[in-house]
Every structure is written in C-alpha cells, then in structure tokens.
C-alpha cells in the first residue's frame, strides 16, 4: 500500500474506520487492523445485513457516521474471498 500512513509501521488503513462491503448481504463498519492472505481483520465492528430487514445500508452508514459505531464484534476476520470493497467511512457517506 502507498500513500498517507496513519499509523507508522502499519498498513495504510491501520486504525482507520472503514466500511467493508462483502459479496453477500453483510456490510461491516469497524477499525481496520490488517490485511493478509487470511483476510481483513477489523476491530469494534458494527454489522448491517440486508437480509435482516430494518434499516437500509445507507441509513445504517449515516447513523454510524452521526452516532458512532455500535460494535457487535470486538474482533472480526473477513475472508478475502468475501471482500467486495473497502472504503473509509467518511468517504462512504455522500
């Protein structure tokens, strides 16, 4: 990875709150820890599942941005095959 390093000595997004969209129905919001061949590791992760009904993904992200992230997982490893995209939360909010 190149560009601005938020935490020196770590990957570019280390410590940054990101939105990870999966290839399935789930979207995760949490602090990026690392990415390797096992997948993407996140901390303090909130979850939106489009199949669960309730709020839309966009509304979930807006609430995360305004009120913060209500973590459902302290630590979470998302397999690389399941990762569709990664963006900073602040960039994901229109």
């Amino acid at each position: 990875m190149t560009g601005h390093v938020f935490h020196p000595g770590h990957q570019e997004l280390h410590g940054v709150t990101i939105v990870l969209e999966t290839r399935g129905s789930r979207t995760y919001v949490g602090r990026f820890h690392s990415q390797d061949e096992r997948g993407v590791e996140l901390h303090d992760v909130g979850v939106h599942d489009a199949l669960a009904g309730g709020t839309t993904k966009e509304e979930f992200l807006r609430r995360c941005n305004r009120f913060g992230i209500r973590p459902e997982h302290r630590d979470l490893l998302v397999p690389l095959d399941d990762v569709a995209s990664i963006r900073r939360l602040v960039d994901a909010i229109g």
Partner: protein, 142 residues
C-alpha cells in the same frame, strides 16, 4: 491498563495549556456537566498517537476562533477511566470513541465529532469543521 503517567503527561499538558480543565473523577464530571449552563466543549483525550495527535492541535487552532465555547474540559480515556465513563453518560446517545469532541449548550449535545471524523485528517481541516460548528451553535444572535 493505563499508560505510565509520565508518558501521558505531555498529552494532558497540551490540553491544559490551551485552557482546558481536566476532569479526573466522576464527582468532578458531575459537578461540571450536571446542570450545565452556557456553552462547553468536552474533549475525550486519548493516547492514540495519530488520531489524538491530530485532534489536540485541531482544538488549539479552533479555540483561536472568535466564537468559542465558554468552557473547555477534558477527560482522558484509558487513564481517568471513571471520569471518562461518567462523562460519556452525558452524551450516551453517541457511541464511545476516543478521541472525540462533544459540544454542549445548556446540557444538550449540539454537535459531536467522532474519532472516525478525525482519523487521517490534517488538524487544520478538523479545526475548520469545529469553527463552523462553533459559529452554528455558539454564536450569539444580535
């Protein structure tokens, strides 16, 4: 486990130098935030070298603005655990993060800056957002 006091002392001093009053116990928090009148900024300080390392200079810049809160107080997450937990009860609608910044007017949170809104941004950019929030919420109509 809290970091050694000597390590965090400069981070505390950075805040007190800009006029912030440290709240280190739940009693101090209640005495300050309970029945709060006027305008106040509460900074949840943090040892995070990058996010808090940007937030403190951002506050310094923002507090030079013509419109500013009447009081500036700070609690230190991970250090003054009891005080931080109590302070967060006063803005319980917002999920805990550190560093973070709450702007209060007569006891009501009128603006909140989360850690994710500080991460990776230049202090001047965070300060610009804070100044806009000061203008929006703290300016006195004439």
């Amino acid at each position: 486990m809290p970091y050694p006091p000597a390590l965090v002392a400069p981070m505390r001093e950075e805040m007190t130098r800009m006029g912030a009053r440290e709240l280190t116990s739940a009693a101090e928090v209640d005495a300050t935030l309970g029945d709060q009148k006027g305008t106040m900024l509460v900074f949840v300080n943090s040892v995070c070298g990058c996010a808090a390392g940007n937030a403190r200079p951002a506050l310094h810049f923002a507090l030079q603005h013509g419109v500013r809160p009447q009081q500036v107080v700070t609690v230190f997450a991970g250090q003054d655990v009891e005080a931080t937990a109590r302070a967060r009860q006063y803005f319980a609608e917002y999920q805990p993060s550190s560093p973070s910044i709450a702007l209060l007017r007569d006891g009501e949170v009128v603006h909140f800056v989360h850690r994710h809104q500080i991460e990776g941004r230049a202090p001047q950019d965070v300060a610009a957002d804070l100044k806009a929030a000061f203008d929006r919420h703290f300016a006195v109509a004439v």
